[in-house]
């Protein structure tokens, strides 16, 4: 009986989902109205606020004009001055803008991230002659075109909300950025035309190489327009944090170029560009997981298993450089304003960074877990599964250090027993030197997981010396690239402008870069002598010794005596780790180039829990984006434009962690619900076709699934 009801509900699931969201939105709307009505107006601490309320306007002297908002009051309102703030049908304006902008950003991240790898996958398919890649790239783009309209609609809604609810602030922004807004609108046309052109011409432009290249060109154009759009909007957002090119007191524009290219513009551009790819990869992975779980044929399962793998690969690939980009952004925020930097890492937002640490930890664990589970579908992986226990230990130990806060929540009794402010765990694990060290170790471990996954299917190798010129050129190219990166940076460190007492702290960094450069050369030499594995092992030993252990210790010393050197230390650390990843990957590719295959990969034979790992990764990255959006925007505190235009509305206070958690949770639920609905719509057309295709080909999924 229950089963029948369940099956009936499954058939009606879409209706149920829609009904649920309708009820949820009604409930939220009603409860917010109720809260807005009940909540007293609280002025922000430390700032004398004009009391704006719905139906009241403020005179230039700050006095509230009673009766504004009524018909007669309209004239008085005009006399009293322009309206600064409005409410959204009685609901908190900030909340509305927060939700709409975050939803818009999430869809935009997907729409901008996916074309980057869709085009790459298409090129790979075209060059390699594998039709599966082409099919997958098209499927990515199908999701894209469905999400694009929602992104645009949300963008329009956001624009209306901003101009309607924050007229004075938007007037200021328009005053500064009006010329760029026209460019934005024109580029949006370009994005729309190339996106739909790219998707709808897929079948038409695949019959000849010239047509295919033209199609790929369309895809590249689409990416250029998308990236351009993001760069323009980023300048508006970053101007609010680090305004430049204007007179702070009057807001008069002195240089549009400097307002546009403000100090935080490029760090945010780079961070968002990488994060979008990561976000898109994990969303695609989750889409594939859902399709995998609902697959009725082995062929379908194999396809979506592979798609999920690619999604995860892209997500993890982009996740690896993300902490470096984030660190750069953080440093630039600190350089822009020590106040923003302080409240970000040690003040009101420090606990949100602990939440961020947990989420990033889950991303790395989930990605590694998926790779380890994926090894079970590869014959020959048994040779490497012994490493998993050590990798698990390293990943979790790094995670433990990564999330240990410098300021532990302690009871009075514990403080008394410890006898000082900091317990050794928080003292040595809680500062940036430790965090940077372990995040590099997690990245190296994740890379190692990928390496053993990749090798699982590979058997006897052809000696490198017998592989011809291609391998040798490849290795040499890797060496030259790494040496250029390491040595050029080492040389540039000799000329940094620092006082003599600080410059001595740069010397060890230079030495470390040279040691790593020497190790790279040695690894290449060993590969030429058919001892590539030894070369890789050498890199895996030297790199953690320098970038993790030594820099963990040295970071403390630099923190105490020469904080200006921290910037160079972190770049050195990144360069050393990156050179290890690049050189190891190059050696692995060429060493196993002609290796015998052990037994192939059985796509589709994946434990069900692996698909839940993909879903977890998707949910985590969405929460992470919601949280980081809050932090980036919230750092301005009670300023619309930091130091230039103050937020004098009644919502100018920094929300509590609990309130932030509820709102971000709501945004995540709304986004996941919307994206599910949009993808469901995108697949409606395929359903009948597939049902015909797989008719008579159905299998008992339960017997096939491995639990």
């Amino acid at each position: 009986m229950n089963k029948k009801i369940f099956l009936h509900l499954r058939k009606r699931s879409s209706v149920v989902v829609l009904l649920f969201f309708f009820l949820l939105s009604s409930f939220v709307s009603v409860s917010l109205r109720a809260n807005a009505a009940e909540a007293p107006v609280q002025p922000t601490a430390g700032v004398e606020l004009p009391q704006f309320e719905a139906g009241k306007a403020q005179s230039p002297e700050g006095k509230v004009t009673e009766g504004a908002g009524t018909g007669t009051a309209a004239v008085e309102e005009e006399e009293a001055g322009p309206v600064q703030y409005r409410t959204f049908f009685g609901i908190d304006s900030r909340l509305i803008v927060w939700i709409v902008s975050e939803l818009h950003l999430m869809f935009a991240a997907f729409v901008l991230g996916v074309p980057i790898f869709a085009v790459i996958v298409e090129i790979v398919g075209f060059k390699g002659g594998d039709i599966r890649y082409d099919k997958m790239a098209k499927e990515f783009t199908k999701l894209l075109s469905a999400a694009f309209a929602t992104t645009a609609s949300l963008g329009g809604l956001l624009g209306f909300c901003l101009f309607g609810l924050y007229p004075e602030f938007m007037s200021h922004m328009t005053n500064v950025f009006a010329p760029t807004m026209y460019v934005y609108a024109l580029m949006f046309f370009g994005e729309a035309f190339t996106l739909y052109g790219y998707y709808y011409s897929w079948e038409i432009l695949k019959n000849s190489a010239a047509k295919k290249w033209f199609h790929i060109f369309l895809g590249i154009l689409l990416n250029l327009f998308g990236t351009g759009l993001m760069f323009i909007t980023n300048s508006w957002a970053t101007f609010m944090m680090s305004p430049a090119g204007v007179v702070p007191a009057t807001g008069k524009v002195l240089s549009l170029y400097h307002a546009f290219y403000n100090p935080l513009w490029m760090p945010v551009n780079i961070h968002r560009l990488i994060a979008n790819v990561c976000f898109g990869g994990f969303i695609v992975g989750a889409y594939a997981a859902v399709k995998f779980l609902g697959s009725k044929s082995q062929e379908e399962k194999a396809h979506y298993d592979w798609m999920g793998y690619v999604g995860n690969f892209i997500g993890v690939g982009a996740l690896i450089p993300l902490p470096f980009a984030g660190y750069w952004l953080g440093r630039e925020i600190y350089s822009t304003s020590p106040v923003m930097g302080n409240i970000m890492m040690g003040g009101a937002f420090s606990w949100t960074f602990i939440i961020q640490a947990v989420l990033i930890g889950f991303l790395f664990i989930g990605a590694n877990y998926y790779l380890w589970l994926g090894m079970s579908r590869i014959k020959g992986s048994e040779r490497y599964t012994g490493y998993i226990k050590f990798l698990t230990m390293i990943v979790f130990m790094c995670f433990a250090v990564w999330l240990t806060p410098h300021n532990l929540p302690l009871s009075g009794e514990e403080r008394a027993m410890i006898g000082e402010q900091y317990h050794p765990f928080s003292k040595y694990f809680g500062v940036m030197a430790a965090k940077n060290a372990v995040v590099n170790l997690i990245i190296l471990t994740t890379f190692f997981s990928f390496l053993i996954y990749r090798r699982s299917n590979k058997g006897d190798m052809v000696p490198f010396s017998e592989q011809g010129k291609v391998g040798k050129i490849g290795i040499m190219a890797g060496v030259v690239f790494c040496l250029l990166m390491l040595v050029s940076y080492a040389v540039s460190l000799n000329f940094v402008e620092l006082e003599a007492n600080m410059k001595v702290f740069v010397k060890p960094l230079i030495r470390c870069l040279y040691i790593q450069a020497f190790t790279i050369c040695l690894a290449a030499f060993l590969t030429f002598k058919n001892k590539g594995k030894l070369g890789q092992a050498l890199l895996f030993i030297v790199t953690p010794c320098i970038a993790v252990l030594y820099f963990w210790y040295y970071g403390f010393e630099v923190m105490q005596k020469a904080n200006l050197v921290l910037r160079y230390l972190s770049v050195t650390q990144v360069s050393i780790v990156m050179s290890c990843l690049i050189m190891n990957a190059v050696i692995d590719i060429f060493m196993f180039r002609k290796a015998k295959l052990v037994g192939g990969i059985e796509w589709g034979k994946m434990p069900v829990r692996s698909q839940y790992a993909l879903l977890l990764l998707c949910v985590v990255i969405v929460i992470l984006m919601g949280l980081m959006g809050f932090i980036r925007s919230g750092l301005r505190m009670d300023w619309h434009i930091y130091g230039v235009l103050q937020d004098t509305s009644q919502w100018a206070y920094t929300p509590s962690l609990a309130y932030m958690g509820r709102v971000v949770g709501l945004i995540v639920a709304l986004f996941l619900g919307l994206v599910t609905f949009v993808f469901w719509l995108a697949n409606l057309g395929d359903k009948k076709e597939k049902a015909k295709g797989y008719e008579g080909n159905e299998i008992d999924t339960h017997s096939e699934e491995s639990h």
Partner: protein, 256 residues
């Protein structure tokens, strides 16, 4: 290749988690006492204990489910098996111990007791805007003036700050033991070395009473010095304090 079976995987995972607990509870406090040359144990804070244990359990579960074979072995231990005496004994022990441990946790968490609340601390409350743009007037002077200021600052520090913060700025002044929250050890690289000069200026001028609402009142017993010390004296104290502690203030960086 035949897959390697691990019939005692569940026991191994439990053993690893128990070892972690014993290390955090008993070994780590002793290790830190020795390493840090303390006269007393350095117990692991309860919050960290909980977090690390959760991670330990999670790591065990992740490892045990990384393949179908491991997962089957992990759960298979709980199933009855003929003839395996040792296994049977351990299984019975587990069935007995599990509810006992859960019961013990519930009991210890629910018995009434008096304890001060555990609070989320804000290490660096937001520096008020009026202090952000301030510059130490003596930092960019010639070497001789700076040296003179540091010496004057050290004297002022020893006169006014030493009773709590100690003569070496290590938080071990004669009054330090009388505070529940001990004065900060400025030699620790995670303290004054991470903030700019003017942050200290604000903290010295306003003290504990000037902390914003997000920082709890018991986070600092520091008095407000604004009525007792002139601005110049405060800047000199800051210079003397950094010198005494052997660390440098965070320096402003140029944006790229």
């Amino acid at each position: 290749m035949a897959k390697k079976r691990s019939p005692y995987l569940l026991v191994k995972v439990i053993f690893a988690v128990v070892c972690l607990f014993l290390f955090l509870k008993y070994a780590a406090p002793k290790v830190f006492q020795v390493l840090m040359a303390k006269e007393h144990l350095m117990p692991t804070p309860s919050t960290l204990m909980m977090w690390y244990m959760i991670m330990g359990v999670l790591a065990g579960l992740v490892y045990a489910t990384t393949s179908n074979q491991k997962f089957a072995d992990f759960l298979g231990f709980l199933l009855p098996e003929k003839g395996a005496m040792v296994k049977s004994f351990i299984r019975k022990m587990l069935f007995f111990a599990f509810p006992v441990i859960i019961g013990w946790f519930v009991y210890t968490w629910s018995i009434p007791g008096a304890a001060s609340p555990v609070e989320l601390r804000i290490q660096h409350p937001t520096l008020p805007q009026e202090f952000e743009k301030m510059e130490n007037p003596f930092r960019n002077t010639d070497a001789e003036t700076q040296r003179k200021c540091i010496e004057e600052g050290k004297i002022l520090f020893q006169t006014n700050c030493r009773p709590c913060h100690g003569s070496k700025a290590d938080g071990n002044g004669p009054f330090a033991n009388s505070f529940r929250l001990r004065p900060i050890n400025f030699q620790d690289p995670g303290t004054i070395a991470t903030v700019v000069d003017n942050y200290l200026f604000w903290r010295i001028k306003e003290g504990g009473p000037g902390l914003p609402s997000e920082a709890t009142p018991w986070d600092s017993a520091m008095p407000a010095w604004k009525d007792d010390l002139k601005d110049d004296e405060v800047w000199k104290i800051i210079m003397g304090e950094y010198d005494t502690a052997g660390v440098m203030p965070r320096q402003r960086e140029k944006t790229e």
